[in-house]
């Protein structure tokens, strides 16, 4: 009997029977993020940006005199596990929940947070996230339904292309980008002559570049992860691709530029959030991040950082910690850097939880991003 009693108590501990009591001096805002698995890079960037913001806020006394308590639960980049972690987070009565970044996990978790009426500040970019009629979900960066039209316009007006090839990574992020992109191309009468899917983690792009060369389109749109973007660019240069290469945020990141060596020269595209933006507040953030964590963060780091300040601003505006009220207050809200420096760039949240910000058209010149054009907010 002793054996089974021991067995049972050990299981009980594992099942989290012990509930967490929250001191009134802290506010519980757990984060559910991809710390391992396919999304580890995105999730850890988001987490590190978030933690930096939390430390800053707590150093100044917290939100409404309560310090932020934000444990991170790892989803292992799996939607089923993320659902379980969100359930665990909700069991402890959070104020708001942060993350995840992967849209698949976001869609599953949204069902739970909506039921619990707890706001969820997510990193996912898939269009579907804000199309489910969930009043509690808020983005921290453009949905694909906003970034794709911007690129499409540039392809039509700036590059003046009549045909285009698209290369994308075969996961929910890349496929979503491709679907939205193709839709925008069709709407503008630009023909998609090559539609090439690639695998996450793929290292050999010879076959894909061969197909692109054969298709001979006026422009090539590339949407895949960082290393794959770099490898693709190297292979494209090697095989002598001359058509303009275009991308969205990832393709133009400094990390990709560094990894690709000279192969990234002349690459153009749309960048929504970047540490390379010519805005002093962003530059300062990037420097602080680099100093603390010893690596250059990607746009997910900015998402995590601004998410905290978003929450802080809305809460202070309400004057209290009201999860339901949060949703109502945040819809239609605009926050400027003058009001809250931590927001870095002026941002507006619409009724669906989508975010509207300035963004940039960029070209890689001399191994650095050069802003070609600043695109204003859609709402202006």
């Amino acid at each position: 009997m002793l054996r089974s009693a021991l067995f049972m108590s050990v299981i009980a501990a594992g099942l989290g029977l012990s509930s967490q009591s929250h001191a009134q001096s802290t506010v519980y805002m757990p984060a559910v993020l991809e710390e391992s698995g396919a999304g580890a890079v995105s999730g850890t960037n988001f987490r590190d940006g978030m933690r930096m913001a939390i430390d800053e806020v707590n150093a100044k006394g917290g939100i409404l005199s309560r310090k932020i308590d934000s444990p991170v639960f790892d989803t292992q980049s799996d939607a089923g596990i993320s659902r379980a972690q969100v359930q665990k987070a909700l069991d402890n009565n959070p104020y708001v929940v942060l993350g995840p970044v992967f849209s698949g996990s976001v869609l599953v978790d949204m069902q739970l947070t909506q039921q619990a009426e707890i706001p969820e500040i997510v990193g996912g970019e898939a269009a579907a996230v804000t199309q489910k009629g969930d009043p509690y979900v808020f983005r921290t960066s453009f949905g694909q339904q906003f970034s794709m039209p911007k690129i499409a316009n540039y392809i039509r007006d700036g590059v003046k292309a009549k045909t285009v090839s698209v290369l994308w990574v075969n996961n929910d992020f890349g496929k979503g980008a491709r679907d939205n992109f193709v839709k925008e191309m069709d709407a503008r009468g630009i023909k998609v002559v090559a539609d090439i899917s690639t695998e996450s983690g793929q290292s050999d792009f010879a076959a894909d570049v061969v197909k692109i060369k054969a298709a001979n389109a006026d422009a090539i749109f590339v949407d895949t992860n960082e290393e794959e973007s770099a490898r693709f660019l190297i292979e494209a240069k090697k095989q002598g691709i001359t058509a303009p290469l275009l991308g969205d945020t990832t393709l133009l990141g400094q990390k990709v530029i560094d990894l690709a060596g000279g192969a990234a020269e002349g690459v153009r595209g749309h960048v929504a959030l970047t540490v390379d933006a010519p805005i002093p507040a962003v530059q300062e953030f990037a420097a602080k991040f680099k100093q603390r964590y010893n690596y250059v963060c990607d746009h997910n780091g900015i998402k995590g950082y601004t998410a905290i300040y978003f929450i802080k601003y809305v809460t202070e505006k309400m004057g209290k910690f009201d999860s339901k009220g949060f949703a109502q207050t945040a819809h239609g809200l605009t926050i400027t850097p003058q009001q809250e420096p931590g927001i870095l760039m002026e941002a507006t949240w619409d009724q669906n939880g989508d975010i509207d910000r300035q963004s940039f058209l960029v070209e890689v010149i001399g191994g650095k991003q050069k802003i070609v054009q600043v695109l204003p907010k859609l709402g202006k």
């Binding site: 391992s36 396919a38 580890a40 890079v41 850890t44 075969n170 090439i196 899917s197 690639t198 695998e199 983690g201 793929q202 290292s203 050999d204 010879a206 076959a207 894909d208 061969v210 197909k211 060369k213 054969a214 960082e226 290393e227 770099a230 490898r231 090697k238 095989q239 002598g240 990390k255 560094d258 990894l259 690596y295």
Partner: protein, 291 residues
């Protein structure tokens, strides 16, 4: 036609990488019944040893040697004594599970102790592009190809032309008999682990400039090595090379001419076909079963 040659050439280059990794894998299986599911991570890890050493200020050529040495100690000696030996007496399955767990352990270690982001890695030769029959191939790929072939030739010579090599083969085919004949079986087995450790370290140095050092590198490489070894022939070192090349070329051709979404399926279908129709692999010998 030019694009076909390009695909062929690129396929051979990638195939050479797979071959190099598959060779060590086959060797371990042959001599000690070790199916090393962590082989991919074994290739991923030495690059990080080297990067860490360079971070501490050691020049690249010395770091590379340190990387190989660390690989021999950790992925050769420690692997054998701490993991394989205790498990093997319990059967093959616990060892398989352990190597799966080990691959997870190594992957997470690289991620936690170094970085989750991809790292650039210095190349052995400056990367220039050569034009060959209308196709472009980088000098790095040629070096990989050359080293892979040289390695297999050297290994073949070792196994078939030297006394040591023949002892190792005897150990693989019939350990009991080998012991009776006075061959130090345990030492032979140890040598194969050490050879594998050197092979994976060399593979790591060769491919990291192209693949970039990342903790997830092991996943695809491990599976590719596995497939190459089985398709080529599990009990022949030459089989690993053939399997690797077939895999690399097939992957490229199927992606270009058939379907990029299903490019991963063709090697698997070949694998199933080989197992059903010729289980010993294309170059393998039929294994006798002791009753």
């Amino acid at each position: 036609m030019a694009s076909f040659i390009q695909l062929l050439v690129s396929g051979l280059a990638t195939g050479a990488i797979y071959a190099l990794i598959a060779v060590g894998f086959t060797l371990l299986w042959q001599t000690s019944q070790t199916i090393n599911f962590a082989q991919g991570e074994f290739v991923m890890l030495p690059a990080f040893f080297i990067l860490e050493s360079m971070y501490l200020g050691v020049p690249f050529w010395l770091s590379a040697l340190i990387g190989i040495a660390l690989s021999i100690v950790i992925l050769g000696l420690l692997f054998k004594f701490l993991i394989v030996d205790p498990m093997l007496k319990h059967g093959v399955l616990p060892l398989v599970i352990s190597t799966i767990a080990l691959s997870l352990f190594l992957k997470e270690s690289a991620k936690n102790f170094y970085s989750s982001q991809a790292q650039p890695f210095p190349a052995l030769v400056p990367s220039t592009d050569l034009h060959f029959l209308g196709a472009v191939v980088s000098t790095q790929s040629l070096v990989v190809l050359a080293v892979a072939i040289a390695t297999v030739v050297a290994l073949h010579l070792l196994l078939h032309k030297t006394r040591l090599g023949r002892s190792m083969q005897a150990t693989a085919q019939n350990p009991t008999l080998a012991r009776i004949l006075g061959i130090p079986v345990r030492r032979m087995v140890l040598y194969t682990f050490l050879i594998n450790a050197v092979l994976v370290a060399v593979a790591s140095i060769l491919i990291s400039p192209i693949y970039l050092a990342k903790f997830t590198n092991g996943e695809t490489l491990g599976l590719a090595a596995f497939l190459a070894a089985i398709i080529g022939g599990f009990n022949q070192v030459r089989g690993a090379i053939l399997g690797g090349f077939i895999l690399g070329i097939l992957d490229n051709l199927s992606a270009a001419y058939i379907s990029s979404q299903y490019r991963g399926a063709f090697p698997l279908l070949i694998l199933i076909a080989v197992i059903l129709l010729r289980p010993q692999g294309l170059l393998g010998r039929i294994e006798e079963r002791t009753v």
